[in-house]
């Protein structure tokens, strides 16, 4: 018990003097971080192994470390074709441009626009297919391709499509709710119309579990001779 309790005061002292972030193991100093500065990376994972390998790998180890660091840097600052900015941020960018300053992201955006806009970075302008090619919804016949409304990738078109979508689905939902309540009403009336003894029998809830081999609707139908073969 004495052994456990002794190191405690020392730990708390070091903890207060140099707090370590629980995730990366590096020092937890937020106040001194400036934006735009390359972030300190944790060196724990990239420790060179053993004193024997030090001589061999120190020359190559440095280069490989650089490539890995470059990869990490590219992944962490991966570009997006269209940047997501609030209106306030956009106003700030415009002001900065008037002053003559331009941030790196803005520069990248300008370059992308010069190259030809979103299309350059792989956002296709024509309608994409949903699902794997060959098994997507249009070729399977689930959707009539000609009845799809035409639209551009703009905010107004998006809003219009969303309104129609919501309208269609809400209509269907309401119809389904109405149909289900009609079903319940008819069932109650039928039970009322039964003579007394049968009514008691009908009101007994049927708690037997429904059969486990009930066929579930799938995207494509089973082959015609399949079920007979299973028995």
């Amino acid at each position: 018990m004495i052994r456990i309790s002794k190191p405690k005061p020392l730990l708390t002292l070091t903890h207060q003097l140099l707090q370590r972030c629980t995730v990366s193991g590096t020092a937890k100093g937020k106040a001194k971080l400036k934006s735009g500065q390359p972030l300190k990376r944790s060196k724990i994972s990239s420790k060179k192994g053993g004193p024997q390998k030090d001589g061999d790998s120190s020359g190559q180890g440095g280069r490989i470390q650089d490539e890995k660091q470059r990869l990490y840097h590219e992944c962490l600052n991966a570009p997006t074709p269209v940047r997501h900015l609030t209106p306030r941020e956009r106003a700030r960018e415009v002001e900065r441009e008037k002053m003559g300053l331009m941030s790196k992201e803005r520069q990248r955006e300008v370059e992308i626009l010069k190259k030809g806009g979103r299309k350059a970075l792989g956002v296709p302008d024509d309608p994409m297919i949903i699902g794997t090619p060959g098994l997507d919804l249009i070729t399977l016949g689930l959707v009539d391709a000609d009845k799809i409304p035409k639209y551009e990738l703009t905010v107004e078109d998006g809003r219009r499509l969303a309104k129609e979508y919501s309208r269609v689905l809400m209509r269907k939902h309401r119809a389904r709710q109405a149909a289900e309540s009609t079903l319940l009403r008819l069932k109650k009336e039928a039970i009322e119309a039964l003579p007394e003894k049968l009514k008691q029998a009908a009101l007994v809830p049927d708690l037997a579990p429904f059969p486990a081999n009930r066929f579930m609707a799938t995207l494509t139908p089973p082959i015609e001779g399949y079920i007979e073969k299973m028995y």
Binding site: P127, L142, G158, K187, A190, A202, P211, A217, E224
Partner: protein, 229 residues
């Protein structure tokens, strides 16, 4: 429906007050095959889903190729599965073969029989649901089950949903039936088979809801309320 003399006497002499004649009750079965294939998607819904997917793709980060190759190479090896999906519109659809269960795969199909029905003038075959007059069994559901049993043969591939009927109709006297009787519908579903041996009647047919409404013009409104889709 035969009641014993004692109960009939009790009813006549009793102070209850409901009608003294025992009412005829017919239990009929709505035998349905659930859809085998997912229903069609509305083009508006599809358009919106596509739009939202492409809009989100705009803001997706584009990672460098070496990173993506690393993740791909560690996965399993490439194996091509040659899969040709079966068509959703089957031959039965094209030939409009109403006796096969493969017809309208994305809709429900209901069984109708052609033969002598309880409510029809005697001798004249008519389209009707499988039915049976209630005669002192335990419950009406058992009566309905025996009705379906007599038509199909055995009940192993059917599932009756609940003990209670799902609707009733008061049928007026026609033909050889002299008094109004009540027809109760019970719901039962096809489980996992494709073929049935339908006996005991001249003809049978599997119909969708719209065709069903054609076969019963005077009860169309009630049936369209009772059957969804």
């Amino acid at each position: 429906m035969r009641r014993s003399l004692a109960s009939a006497a009790r009813q006549l002499a009793g102070t209850r007050g409901f009608c003294s004649k025992p009412e005829k009750i017919v239990a009929s079965v709505l035998f349905e095959r659930l859809p085998v294939v997912l229903p069609k998607i509305d083009p508006v819904v599809y358009a919106f889903q596509e739009f939202s997917f492409r809009w989100r793709q705009q803001y997706r980060r584009r990672y460098p190729d070496e990173f993506l190759d690393m993740s791909k190479s560690k996965g399993k090896g490439d194996y091509q599965i040659e899969y040709v999906p079966a068509p959703r519109i089957t031959e039965a659809d094209k030939t409009n073969d109403k006796k096969s269960l493969q017809r309208a795969l994305d809709r429900r199909l209901y069984l109708l029989l052609y033969g002598n029905s309880y409510g029809a003038p005697s001798g004249k075959p008519v389209w009707h649901f499988p039915e049976k007059v209630y005669e002192s069994e335990e419950t009406l559901r058992k009566c309905a089950e025996s009705a379906l049993n007599s038509v199909i043969g055995d009940l192993s591939d059917t599932y009756f949903v609940g003990n209670a009927p799902m609707g009733h109709m008061v049928m007026q006297p026609t033909g050889n039936v002299s008094e109004p009787y009540k027809q109760f519908f019970f719901k039962s579903q096809v489980i996992a088979t494709n073929k049935f041996n339908i006996g005991k009647c001249k003809d049978f047919i599997w119909v969708t809801k719209d065709e069903l409404l054609e076969y019963f013009p005077e009860q169309a409104e009630f049936l369209s309320k009772m059957i969804i889709s």
